[in-house]
């Protein structure tokens, strides 16, 4: 399996996700500078977390116009799996690969903590390592993770079974109190129509190593390796 991690000015979780990918794949992913015109042939493209262009103007707004993004979008449309984590999720909504927007957290504060996520479906290359309905612990670290789309869009997304993960409590209950950022319908992660593009605010790469206090993120990388090798 070949994976490419796109590096933007201001990306800061590029190395972290590369470490998790290497642990699962047994080899290093390609680190691809945003100024390149093409992504090298890859089975997986990762848009990492961080503050591309300092989040100035709007999170992901400027990086969405980086030269590399034209090819990322084209490859995604042709079916290359794309994983956008945190700032990568912003890029996916900014480029229209995923609907909706990620607004400032309801608390107006940056939040860094472990949250519980409910795995909504496991029939994608990203999630086969989880059971449907499984509750996993993954950290969030963002200022702008408050997912918003209009009601019609949300209904359509639910109808198309495109919600990947929802914020929940330790028992899996989806109540408003545990929603860390105000996201509509507790949405933490979202797929495209074909389930090949995943945007998620939580950082699976941050709990994929027992030394860091948990491994609930690891099955995502293992699932990808199994599906794409």
């Amino acid at each position: 399996m070949k994976a490419s991690v796109i590096v933007f000015p201001g990306s800061n979780c590029d190395r972290d996700v590369a470490v998790s990918l290497e642990a699962a794949m047994g080899k290093k992913p390609a680190m691809v500078w945003h100024g390149e015109a093409d992504v090298p042939a890859s089975d997986l493209i990762v848009l990492p977390g961080g503050f591309s262009y300092g989040d100035y103007l709007r999170s992901g707004a400027m990086a969405a116009h980086s030269p590399i993004m034209r090819d990322v979008v084209a490859k995604a449309r042709k079916g290359t799996p794309v994983l956008g984590i945190c700032n990568g999720f912003h890029l996916l909504t900014e480029t229209g690969l995923l609907p909706g927007v990620l607004m400032r957290n309801a608390s107006l504060k940056f939040i860094c903590k472990d949250v519980w996520l409910k795995v909504v479906r496991n029939d994608t290359d990203f999630a086969r390592g989880y059971a449907p309905g499984e509750v996993i612990r993954i950290p969030i670290a963002h200022h702008d993770g408050n997912y918003f789309a209009d009601e019609d869009t949300l209904d359509r997304l639910e109808g198309e079974n495109r919600v990947a993960f929802r914020y929940c409590d330790a028992s899996g209950a989806l109540n408003g109190d545990i929603n860390p950022n105000g996201s509509q319908r507790n949405i933490a992660g979202l797929y495209n129509e074909t389930g090949t593009v995943l945007g998620l605010m939580p950082h699976p790469e941050r709990l994929a190593d027992p030394a860091l206090g948990g491994t609930d993120g690891r099955p995502m990388f293992d699932s990808l390796v199994r599906a794409l090798h």
């Binding site: 800061n12 503050f51 989040d55 939040i111 860091l212």
Partner: protein, 726 residues
């Protein structure tokens, strides 16, 4: 030059006489400005230098002590830790968000300037009383500023401390610490050795922000302090992130002679320091300096404290290679000067020489004062039996755990990205934070400590305690303490009683650093922390760094296993003078602070480290603010396992046992208590079984147990409630 102009530049009449004799003529306005910042307290350490020299700064682990941008210690395998702590107190009081943010940015530059990738940020924050009208606003702004900068750059903020005390009502403290990692064969220094070398400016453009920041940081506040807002710099963490990556990329090539960040006093201090250390002169052409604004004068350019800028002296002929790297990262790059053999700093602007001054005299002839000082009479020791007992131990525990002093700081650190870089092994909330040395099985532990109420009561004992507590907190994770950085925050040194606090704290720090072989490798002095004549409590913040040789053998504070024995290691005297019990419950601060026995400290800590490494203990916590019962409760809350305290039949009143703040003590949880007791006794270390783990309460004999959930809600509740109320 009028006397008014000289005095506005913070120079005394005597200092101005010295300027005249150095130059042999009247200075130009640009030269006056340069003298002013170079001789400011902030840049010259003129009141403190004579005392700082007394601190131990060497040891087999020390690669570079004070005097460079940051201190460096060896961590084996060809790697080193580079770290420093610095204050950004004055700007943060005036403009909390930007003041704190640029404090974080500045300290990271000090560390990556030397070739290190920053891997951990910490901060020591001291605010006024919770009921002071400005406190909420300052807490909110400072915390947001620290997070806003560090989160964006992508360096985890892993630890620190937050205090509230009316002594900081008019002058908060924001001390930022950064720890970086480098290879020992790729360390970069600031000495610009060699003549005819290109002097290169990289990073952000120069603007009019922060002019005279160093001078402001060397004066007291008054009613017009808000007018000083324009002297606060504005941070751009995105540029800092690019600057880190570009500098590290440049450093991987072999083309840098010297590098220095433009911190306080900007282009002035960086060029003077680089030229002085290299024994050369600098010719600077200000028309080459990238400017953000039009029409800036030489004076403004030399004194600007615009952030995210570096000065680099390159090997000749390597300009194009270097330029390509900075262009890739979309940063300004300009050759602004050349090193010379004149020994003079010659600044040209629009064809005019604006400054022509001898570098050595500027750097080395800064005045040095041995200011008069008086130490306060050490207060009398208050005996435990002379301190009133509470109605109930558990009720007192509840009050303490839910007080501003001891409540959880989660509201603060959840706003900091403390996990980015994927190596945070111990998150905030324990004794010391631990980050893994990337790609290895080693860990770096880091902590910030000082107890200002102890320092105020007895500066020598307080200085001793601050160093010992940092050493203890590192030890409690299983680390070998390596070295410290100090951030000395005090009032106006021209007052003998303030100077005495400084001298006393340094003396205590010296004793402890020597006894614990815990040398000072870097630091910063922040004086004139006063508003309208009211000085802050003496606050020598100590940042400690330690090495965990194998992360398979480290400890944390959380109780994990039911039915284990809780043991207390270290001597119990029931010392309640200057304790939080006295402060919070009895609402007074009296008596001597708890004494630190440095020999016992060392012996006890060494045993605790052994116990961690041979797997004898499942949890370790040092006993500090609040005493034994608070420490046990913190361990229980961290792990979600309760504790039952046993009967106390010692000589002290039971409340002194519960809330005394005797130093040099650790609580450990273990299933091998007999063995631990034997080992402690063999080493002459007092040891006692204090209770047992288990259940979901904290219980003390003869009182109703306190449910952990109740304690948790008190402990977690205060700060979020405070920040959202009103």
């Amino acid at each position: 030059m009028t006397p008014e102009l000289v005095s506005e530049h913070g120079l005394s009449a005597e200092e101005y006489e010295q300027v005249l004799s150095i130059l042999g003529r009247e200075p130009s306005i640009t030269e006056l400005g340069i003298f002013s910042v170079m001789w400011s307290e902030h840049c010259s350490y003129k009141s403190s230098k004579v005392w700082l020299k007394t601190l131990p700064t060497t040891g087999p682990q020390v690669i570079c002590g004070p005097g460079e941008n940051a201190g460096i210690v060896d961590i084996g395998d060809g790697q080193c830790a580079i770290f420093k702590m610095e204050s950004h107190n004055h700007p943060s009081f005036i403009e909390p968000y930007q003041g704190a943010a640029t404090g974080v940015g500045g300290i990271m530059r000090d560390v990556f300037t030397m070739g290190a990738r920053p891997v951990a940020n910490l901060n020591a924050l001291r605010f006024g009383a919770p009921d002071h009208p400005k406190t909420r606003h300052l807490v909110s702004g400072v915390v947001a500023g620290i997070g806003g900068y560090g989160n964006c750059v992508g360096v985890p903020t892993v630890g620190g401390e937050v205090n509230f005390d009316p002594g900081y009502n008019g002058n908060i403290l924001v001390n930022a610490m950064c720890v970086g990692l480098a290879d020992t064969d790729r360390i970069f220094y600031s000495a610009a050795r060699g003549v005819g070398l290109p002097v290169v400016y990289v990073g952000s453009k120069t603007g009019r922000d922060g002019i005279h920041g160093a001078t402001m940081a060397s004066a007291e506040f008054d009613d017009d302090s808000d007018e000083k807002r324009p002297t606060v710099q504005v941070g751009d963490p995105f540029t800092e992130k690019l600057l880190i990556e570009a500098c590290l990329e440049l450093m991987a090539r072999d083309i840098i002679i010297a590098i220095q960040d433009m911190g306080a006093a900007g282009l002035t201090s960086s060029s003077v320091e680089m030229a002085d250390k290299g024994g050369v002169g600098f010719d600077l052409d200000l028309n080459k300096v990238p400017c953000r604004e039009e029409g800036m004068s030489a004076y403004e350019m030399m004194l600007s404290e615009s952030q995210e800028r570096m000065l680099i002296v390159l090997k000749p002929g390597s300009e194009d290679k270097a330029r390509a790297i900075f262009q890739k990262w979309e940063l300004d790059f300009a050759v602004v000067g050349v090193t010379t053999d004149t020994g003079r700093l010659i600044v040209t602007h629009n064809g005019h020489i604006e400054a022509d001054m001898p570098v050595k005299a500027l750097a080395d002839s800064a005045p040095e004062y041995k200011r008069p000082w008086t130490l306060p009479e050490p207060p009398a020791v208050i005996l435990p039996r002379d301190v009133a007992a509470p109605d109930s131990l558990t009720g007192t525990l509840e009050t303490l755990m839910g007080s501003p002093h001891l409540c959880s700081r989660r509201w603060v650190w959840e706003q900091y990205d403390h996990m980015v870089m994927g190596d945070t092994l111990r998150r905030p909330g324990g004794d010391a934070a631990v980050v893994r040395v990337h790609g290895t099985t080693k860990g770096l532990a880091a902590t910030c400590d000082v107890t200002p109420r102890y320092c105020a009561a007895d500066p020598v004992e307080g200085g001793r305690q601050a160093v010992a507590e940092a050493w203890r907190n590192l030890t409690a994770t299983g680390a070998d303490p390596l070295a410290i950085t100090d951030c000395m925050n005090f009032g106006n040194p021209e007052r003998p009683e303030i100077m005495g606090q400084f001298v006393g704290c340094i003396e205590g720090m010296r004793e402890a650093a020597e006894a614990l072989q815990f040398p000072v490798v870097s630091g910063n002095v922040s004086l004139y922390n006063e508003t309208k004549g009211a000085a802050i409590p003496p606050t020598p913040a100590i940042g400690g760094v330690g090495l965990i040789p194998d992360i398979a053998h480290m400890a944390d504070i959380s109780l994990k296993i039911e039915g284990e024995t809780l043991l207390l290691l270290g001597a119990e005297r029931g010392h309640l003078g200057q304790s939080l019990y006295m402060d919070v419950i009895l609402e007074k601060r009296e008596g001597a602070p708890p004494p630190v026995d440095l020999a016992a400290e060392r012996k006890t800590g060494d045993l605790v480290r052994e116990l961690i490494r041979d797997g004898s203990v499942s949890a370790v916590h040092d006993v500090s603010d609040g005493g034994l019962l608070v420490a046990v409760s913190e361990m229980a809350l961290a792990g979600g396992v309760g504790a039952a305290m046993g009967e106390y039949d010692g000589p002290q009143p039971v409340h002194a046992m519960a809330f005394g703040e005797d130093q040099g003590r650790y609580i450990v949880a273990s299933s091998r208590s007999g063995e631990i007791i034997a080992r402690a006794k063999a080493s002459g270390i007092p040891v006692r079984i204090i209770g047992e783990t288990g259940g979901d309460t904290i219980s003390v004999p003869g009182e109703e147990p306190v449910p952990l959930e109740k304690l948790r809600s008190l402990h977690e509740g205060w700060l979020p409630h405070y920040m959202t109320s009103r």
